[in-house]
């Protein structure tokens, strides 16, 4: 396949070195207390590593626009899945039912870390 792009070996080795460096970075930063930010830093590094793998190891940088569109669509659907469910889950405490409805909602556990009970 002559028309196909052949990625030079030095690109593969550079990406490999970057992936190892990011792995060391993510382990190191995991022990530093950044509060709620730790998970986002970890996911940011993971997303960077995944992008490097996709662009160079999986040749997306050199692929057709259509293949690039296919690859991004998966993450678009994943973002919809995560976005809508987490938006629901994390905003349930924001609104409280009117007092007249109390009888139905009184037994809802106040703390999210309370033990799960069978209904």
């Amino acid at each position: 396949m002559s028309a196909q792009h052949i990625v030079p070996l030095r690109v593969y080795f550079s990406v490999f070195a970057a992936l190892l460096a990011f792995t060391a970075l993510t382990v190191w930063v995991a022990y530093i207390d950044l509060g709620a930010l730790n998970i986002y830093v970890a996911l940011g590094i993971a997303a960077t590593k995944a992008s490097l793998v996709m662009l160079y190891f999986m040749h997306l940088k050199y692929s057709s626009r259509l293949a690039q569109l296919f690859s991004v669509s998966g993450f678009l659907w994943l973002a919809l899945l995560l976005g809508f469910v987490l938006a629901d889950e994390n905003t349930r405490d924001w609104l409280h039912p009117p007092s007249g409805w109390a009888g139905q909602y009184e037994q809802a556990p106040a703390s999210h870390d309370a033990p799960q009970t069978e209904h």
């Binding site: 396949m1 293949a67 870390d113």
Partner: protein, 230 residues
């Protein structure tokens, strides 16, 4: 898989391009798109588990932190490096095919299998350790770690359910990948089937193998590193 029928058709017609394609380039593009369509479904397959993780971690952050303290960061980091090496050897196999180094294709496929095997071996050691410490969800689950003072063991069990589901399905993907190499790609590579004029199956398998690497890139921080700072 479409590449399989493509290859069969190519062999039948004693050519490298199946009859429904204009040229090798179009055939390669079709195979690439088909593989990416499959990988999109895989993203959503693992995405469901990721969603479960995200929801329950936001509900029980302390239990998930306690659970991650029971995992071995060192073994996890070792496996991450091993999997990245296997991705590099896979990329080298694809490169060898493209430049027509037929022996290189077989050599790098064997190396990819080898590193994949090391990964699964380490995973087995980790699973055995969890079995001994009663950390496998079920009737015998019994958590009493120091990191989890005050957390409900049931919620730690939930973390371990997700740990085994996610790493188990990931390991299954690697086993299937190893099977494809052993049964299909390696025997043909040894016969010199994949060279500069035709190496699509190697490239498509490379996409699959790199995808499995990406899944682990996310699983490692989510399972092993979450809550290490506490």
């Amino acid at each position: 898989m479409s590449a399989n029928t493509l290859e069969a058709a190519a062999e039948e017609s004693h050519g490298l391009v199946a009859h429904q394609f204009d040229d090798a380039e179009q055939q390669h593009e079709a195979a690439t798109l088909g593989m990416w369509a499959f990988l999109v479904t895989e993203v959503l397959f693992f995405g469901g588990l990721m969603l479960g993780y995200a929801v329950f971690r936001s509900k029980f952050p302390d239990a998930f932190s306690a659970g991650s303290h029971e995992l071995d960061v060192g073994l996890g980091a070792f496996n991450t490096v091993i999997l990245i090496i296997s991705s590099l050897t896979m990329a080298m196999a694809v490169h060898s095919g493209q430049v027509g180094n037929k022996k290189g294709v077989a050599l790098f496929l064997v190396l990819t299998l080898l590193f994949g095997g090391i990964f699964l071996g380490v995973k087995g050691v980790e699973y055995a350790d969890k079995f001994e410490h009663h950390l496998i969800p079920g009737l015998l689950f019994d958590y009493h770690g120091e990191a989890g003072a005050g957390v409900n063991p049931k919620n730690v069990e939930l973390f371990f359910f997700l740990y085994f589901a996610m790493t188990g399905v990931h390991a299954l993907h690697m086993i299937i990948g190893a099977g494809i190499v052993l049964v299909w790609l390696l025997p043909r590579a040894l016969q010199g089937a994949y060279g500069s004029e035709y190496s699509s199956p190697i490239e498509m398998f490379g996409l699959y193998w790199h995808f499995v690497d990406i899944v682990w890139i996310f699983l490692y921080p989510l399972l092993y590193l979450v809550g290490r700072h506490q």
